[in-house]
């Protein structure tokens, strides 16, 4: 069997990485909770497996999602990943068909040209050689973009490129060397033997014209093998670990495994699956409006991989979900941050040089045992009215925007609903702000108190005006009543024809609140309500792509002035079309928008307030007039 010592680095690297990936996969699997193990086992023999193969092909190789966001970046990822995949696949087939025997060791396929220098000068072999050159050209074109991107990131339209650490740089250099060295090694060999197709053949002939091709080829074969070997050995400690991790993640996800609320295997797979593509950097308003550029998902995930202290980063985030939505790998970035918020400030661990390879155990978050529950002793059972049809919970935030509960009261009355305003004298907080701060235990106390009041009322439906309350009612309250956000409830009243509304002939742009839209998936009901009563237009940020108002309760670190920077940009962007109303469905958004300079002629309104104006019994001009006379007194 032909052999040459230069293949040794490649072989060592290859077998190491295969063993490593298998071992890593086994450990990941082993550390999963039992239910998740079962999910994956079932998935392996069912549809999830097939789906995953398809998804690995579409996302891992073709990079469809990145293509959608940014075609040049997508092409770069595709040409490298898919090109390399084809090169290996077709190379193996080539060695199998044209080599002297079948079932060759991998190195025979990779270094096929070295062992068969005069192959492919005629017939089928020649066409095949053309194909192989084409693929190499594809990869090299992608590589060229990658190199340009690294030194001049504007070219592919990304504003920022994720920064690299030292080992990543070495790995990156070896990755960059792989294909040029293959090109030169093949070309020299082809030049010496007069073989090769349009790329390696022509380049080979040209080089052989003035260089001793035969002698020159050998060092480049070494370089090719060495760069491959180095790349494989370093792979577990660099971001390129994302390649195997992403495949594992895709299968995990399709089998129904989710990250949960504890650091575990699934979270570990997810952080390793981040390719540092940087797409999350450009969607984050903290970076685009507030010049906070070190907390975005890519940096957070990188910090986790390095076992840095990420507590501050975890807290300095609006939890708006824009990066979750944009991440082409589908990393559950919000839940990942929440895990670290709950964990609190961790004790600083010393990091071992092995940690990149051997971080096998769950670094699980210890419950620090502290309880602040005595602080909640002031909570008394809330008085409730028995048996209303609907219980209305405004929420603390809504109490700061009294226009909303007043509008809701009008709506209930106009529709003739038997309702009780549960927190009319002030509320016990729903608990979500504490949850967002990672204080689940404390939140439990509030949840218990409110749940008790809701149960005792005997109402069948709970309506809230605040998406923040809505989300926690849905997720952490275990209520047997139906929970609706007021936009859903109003939509229902309209559909059931209980609420008669005028058409207002006002132009409206609707802003999806984070917690209601991306957070709870409610996009259509508010739009249906608004279409019913107004001329609803479109902004450049609809539905999943909605902006965050900037006032999020979730950011526990941000300077207030930066919030003003964010909201000014948002309001400017959303009122480009000079709408009469900029509508939202969240008291916090409404309040936050109030910080920005609103263009004359536009007004911020909650959807309930617009609906209240449209109620048939009361002509809208009356309310408007009352408001205007007051305002005129202010503007001197």
């Amino acid at each position: 069997m032909p052999f040459n010592p230069f293949v040794i680095p490649f072989n060592i690297g290859l077998y190491f990485i295969i063993l490593y990936v298998v071992a890593r996969g086994v450990v990941w699997f082993r550390d999963l909770p039992r239910t998740d193990k079962l999910r994956m086992q079932r998935g392996f023999f069912g549809r999830p497996f097939i789906l995953s193969i398809k998804e690995i092909f579409m996302e891992g190789l073709i990079h469809r999602k990145i293509f959608k966001v940014n075609p040049v970046l997508g092409y770069m990822h595709m040409s490298l990943a898919f090109g390399w995949f084809l090169l290996i696949l077709l190379g193996t087939i080539e060695a199998d068909i044209f080599g002297e025997k079948h079932l060759n060791p991998p190195y025979k396929a990779i270094f096929f040209r070295f062992f068969n220098p005069d192959h492919g000068t005629a017939g089928l072999a020649k066409h095949y050689g053309f194909l192989m050159d084409l693929i190499l050209a594809l990869i090299l074109s992608g590589l060229l973009i990658a190199i340009i991107k690294r030194f001049w990131s504007g070219i592919v339209g990304m504003k920022r490129t994720a920064n690299l650490k030292f080992l990543d740089k070495v790995a990156l250099t070896s990755l960059w060397l792989i294909f040029p060295s293959r090109l030169l090694a093949e070309s020299f060999t082809c030049g010496a033997y007069g073989s090769g197709s349009f790329l390696t053949g022509s380049l080979g002939t040209a080089l052989a014209g003035f260089l001793p091709a035969e002698i020159m080829a050998y060092p480049f074969w070494w370089l090719y093998s060495l760069s491959l070997g180095t790349f494989f050995i370093l792979l577990p400690r660099t971001r390129y670990m994302h390649i195997p991790s992403e495949m594992f993640l895709i299968f995990m996800r399709n089998s129904g495994v989710r990250i949960g609320d504890q650091y575990g295997s699934c979270a570990d797979v997810q952080i390793h699956a981040c390719s540092s593509c940087g797409i999350c950097l450009n969607v984050c308003q903290l970076s685009t409006s507030a010049d906070i550029t070190n907390i975005q998902a890519a940096y957070f995930v990188k910090g986790l991989k390095r076992e840095d202290d990420v507590f501050d980063i975890a807290l300095n985030c609006l939890m708006c979900g824009r990066c979750d939505e944009a991440c082409p790998v589908g990393i559950e970035l919000g839940p990942l941050r929440m895990i670290h918020r709950r964990a609190g400030d961790p004790p600083k661990d010393t990091m071992s040089i092995w940690s990149g390879y051997l971080r096998l155990r769950n670094q699980n978050i210890q419950d620090n045992g502290e309880s602040h529950i005595t602080a909640f002793q002031y909570l008394k059972p809330q008085p409730v009215k028995k048996g209303p049809e609907v219980l209305y919970f405004a929420g603390c935030m809504t109490h700061l925007t009294p226009g909303i509960p007043i509008a809701m009261r009008k709506i209930f009355e106009a529709a003739g609903i038997d309702f009780d305003f549960m927190d009319k004298d002030g509320s016990v907080c729903c608990g979500r702000p504490l949850t967002l701060a990672g204080k689940d235990r404390e939140a439990r106390e509030l949840i218990r108190n409110n749940s008790d009041a809701i149960w005792r009322s005997g109402a069948k439906t709970l309506v809230t005006s605040c998406p923040i309350c809505y989300k926690i009612f849905m997720e952490s309250y275990h209520l047997d009543v139906e929970v609706l956000h007021h936009s859903q409830y109003i939509n229902r009243l309209i559909e059931e024809e209980k609420l008669k509304l005028n058409f207002l002939n006002k132009s409206v742009i609707y802003h999806d609140p984070c917690e209601l839209g991306r957070g709870s998936g409610i996009y259509s009901e508010p739009r249906r309500v608004l279409i019913h009563i107004s001329r609803l237009g479109k902004s450049n940020h609809e539905k999943e792509d909605a902006l965050c108002c900037g006032g999020s309760l979730a950011n526990l670190k941000i300077d207030r002035r930066k919030i003003t920077d964010i909201v000014s940009d948002v309001v400017e962007e959303l009122t480009l079309s000079n709408p009469d109303y900029l509508a939202t469905a969240c008291p916090l958004c409404k309040k936050t928008f109030g910080k920005a300079d609103i263009k004359a002629g536009s007004e911020i309104k909650d959807i309930a307030e617009i609906v209240a104006m449209a109620i048939v019994s009361e002509p809208p001009e009356a309310i408007e007039l009352k408001k205007r006379t007051k305002l005129e007194k202010v503007s001197l």
């Binding site: 700061l400 925007t401 009294p402 226009g403 002035r561 003003t564 109030g594 007051k630 007194k633 202010v634």
Partner: protein, 343 residues
Amino acid sequence: MHNKEKHIVIIGGGTAGCVAAGRLAREGYRISLIEKDKKPGGKINNWYQLFPDRRRSVEVTDYINKEIDHPLIDLMTGTELDKVKYKNGKFSISTGKSDLGQADAVLIATGFDLFDATRKEEYGYGIYDNVITSLDLENMFHSGDILTTKEEIPKRVGIVHCVGSRDEKVGNFHCSKVCCVTAVKQAIEIKEHIPDSEVFCFYMDMRMFGPYYEELYRESQEKWVVNYIRGKVSEVSENIEGRLVIKAEDTLLGKPIRMEVDMLVLMVGMQNAKAGLNLQDKFGIQTGVNGFFRIRDNHYGNNLSNVDGLFYAGTCTAPMNITDTISHARAAAVEITEYLSKN
């Protein structure tokens, strides 16, 4: 060159603009005084009485009107600045209506806007009937009737300090300086009009910075029995009888308070005027973090801008009372005179 050949454009015909115009005209300069409203005088026209001595504001208005009664002052009311060109220290200025020609110096005296109380929705301005601003109350004093919307005499009145000032939630960090003493003055006036009423002021700090302010504050407590509660009002609602329910915290007693009142007066703060901010790009001038125009030096250059030949007077640079505004305007006149004698 004789002073008469020099031309100064003053933007804003409020207290500061008028006082400076009078001084400079008496120095012999030709003045174009641009005022966007129909008459000069600015915000003081809306005020009833002034602190600390409760003199009627018309007396100050009369003083201002006398200041600008000078042949060298060309007062243009209902006029706004349109285009500006700046070259070699000279300004070419036109209004929407006419070309003012070349100006050797420009004085910006665009004043302030009151904070828009609807932005602080939790206080219910524009939502509940009997929530009014300090300005609305002055109007009531003018008309002589302090009545709720149901035409009843309020028996209990709350006054909220720092509305839109010292409030990072609305993006205003600065203290508006005059609202504390305005609250004291208005509390006394309410008691004068309705002797059997109760008045409660909700404050964070009492900032009695000027001469005789502290005395007025003392008088309000001793003679008029105004109640002062240290604590911020967190929210306001309306009960079924239409009375306002205030939630606050008494930070001295460390206790939450709920109180019903018939009327709530919001002490709205000062912000740099929109009309002034619109000039920013035209002149290439800057604002500080508080949103007011940035003066060149905090101690001895508080009439100077970053542009040579461009000066500031009055509340476009910081919150001020009438006394300080007048002094600041006179100082601006001195600065301009000195500048023009050198150039």
